[in-house]
């Protein structure tokens, strides 16, 4: 098994002929790498993450994840089990009524036994400082709590790669700090989308920016633009 977890080769994507998003995009994520993904609003950052887990298919180009080229829906089942995507809006991600059920949803789909699932739920919540949240109603949580629970639902699947789409947007300072501290401690390779430079410097090892549908490397010392 090689060291490259995700590789996009010359990937293009458009939402219809008059709305191209990505054009000839190359990207790779290696084991133990943490890549910051920058780019203006609407430049296709979220789309790039969606392409990796097969929520949308490229109009041309190749998506290779965990050493295999993925093209059909069935190819992506394994990808989704091993790559955890954290959505921008936690309300989209938390769809079960209670926290425990939401965290259990992924592991159950992966065919874990009831006993294992209970253990995973307890452990995951514990590790995020959410012990005792099991029976809380998801829509009654605060914004920061929702984000952490959403992260818990992703981590409960024990992913090899994390794709974090603006993990701190809309959170206050305290909640941001908490989320950042937790993400910084995670061992997984990850792609982090954010507009927060300070956050990215703290979390990531490499920086790329989406400009007009292509990725270009960013010099970490460069002044902030876009």
């Amino acid at each position: 098994m090689n060291d490259v977890l995700v590789r996009l080769r010359d990937v293009s994507f458009s939402y219809g002929p008059d709305r191209p998003v990505l054009g000839g995009c190359d990207f790779s994520l290696k084991r133990s790498e943490r890549v910051a993904l920058l780019g203006a609003n609407g430049s296709g950052k979220t789309t790039l993450l969606a392409l990796i887990v097969g929520l949308v298919r490229p109009t041309s180009g190749e998506v290779e994840v965990f050493g295999k080229v993925r093209a059909r829906e069935a190819d992506f089942h394994e990808v989704r089990a091993r790559a955890g995507l954290l959505f921008q809006d936690a309300d989209d991600q938390l769809f079960c009524p209670t926290v425990a059920e939401d965290v259990a949803f992924g592991p159950m789909n992966l065919g874990r036994s009831r006993h294992e699932v209970h253990e995973i739920v307890a452990q995951t919540l514990q590790s995020l400082g959410l012990a005792g949240y099991e029976d809380r109603i998801t829509y009654k949580l605060s914004g920061g709590e929702k984000r952490l629970v959403a992260l818990a639902t992703v981590l409960a699947m024990e992913p090899d790669v994390l794709l974090l789409d603006e993990p701190t947007s809309g959170l206050d300072d305290a909640a941001t700090q908490r989320v950042v501290d937790i993400i910084a401690r995670l061992p997984q390779a990850m792609v982090v989308v954010s507009h927060d430079r300070a956050l990215l410097e703290k979390l990531t090892t490499r920086c790329v920016r989406l400009v007009e549908g292509r990725l270009e490397p960013v010099d970490p010392g460069a002044p902030k633009t876009g």
Binding site: A50, G84, F87, Q93, F95, T98, F105, I137, Y139, T153
Partner: protein, 260 residues
């Protein structure tokens, strides 16, 4: 919703706390649903006052066993009885019999009044039983119990998703309303008002559709392939067997009172 929910009546809340769990709270939700449905169907068929009175009495006893607060119960029954008042006011004019009052050619009859009273009694007994047996379940448990009772999956999912996203939708609606208000929108009898409301509803629909797509994406990301697994399992205990048997015997007795 919050003010209507006492300790054990939780329409959208979490499970009642352990300290105040009443006899009814400790029953298996499945036996409660089955009993509630059986009671409603049987009582709906009754017409005689003795059986209806006994049914009402049973429901009241059950409410006491569930330790429901009288005020909470009254609040739950209020909408039903508002409807029943209408019935008492209207129905007797349409039934023939001994006249109590007359308005021109129309007569307000004793027989009609009796029938309206029977219907009121019936409605109150059924709703009270539902409040006691189902109103004390939190909605999530109700959904799971439905699923365990082999209610079609689609229906159960629809139910649970509705619970989950009702509040999200409401907040979206309030945001849109606020956006309208901050730009000095005031409803008037005008084409512009109609159009604005049209946009509001349309926007809400479009956003819901968008959101549903994102939710499906989130579910797929976590390995969803069309099947829901339930985390909770219910326990059918000895007390459920006793409760079920007692309920059955009482229903049969009620039926005997009505039809013999």
């Amino acid at each position: 919703m919050a003010n209507a929910s006492g300790d054990s009546v939780s329409l959208l809340g979490s499970s009642p706390s352990g300290a105040r769990r009443s006899l009814v709270d400790r029953l298996d939700p499945r036996s409660r649903i089955v009993t509630a449905v059986a009671f409603s169907v049987v009582v709906a068929l009754f017409n005689g006052f003795p059986a209806l009175g006994l049914a009402m009495g049973l429901a009241v006893v059950a409410a006491m066993l569930a330790r429901l607060r009288p005020l909470t119960v009254a609040r739950r029954l209020a909408p039903v009885n508002a409807l029943m008042l209408l019935l008492v006011a209207m129905l007797p004019w349409a039934v023939e019999g001994r006249a109590l009052a007359a308005l021109g050619p129309f007569e307000y009859t004793w027989e009609g009044l009796l029938r309206a009273a029977a219907i009121s009694l019936k409605a109150n007994a059924v709703v009270l039983a539902l409040v006691v047996l189902l109103g004390t379940l939190d909605i999530v448990t109700l959904g799971h119990a439905m699923s365990h009772l082999r209610v079609p999956d689609k229906l159960t999912h629809l139910f649970l998703f509705t619970v989950r996203y009702l509040d999200v939708l409401r907040r979206e609606y309030l945001r849109l309303r606020a956006a309208m208000k901050t730009r000095a929108f005031r409803p008037r009898m005008s084409g512009q008002t109609c159009r604005a409301y049209g946009y509001l509803v349309g926007m809400l629909l479009v956003r819901s559709l968008d959101r549903s797509e994102r939710i499906v994406a989130a579910m797929k990301c976590r390995g969803f392939r069309g099947r829901f697994y339930l985390l909770d399992h219910f326990v059918f205990a000895a007390r459920d067997a006793w409760f079920g048997t007692a309920a059955l015997v009482l229903l049969v007795l009620l039926a005997l009172v009505e039809w013999l």
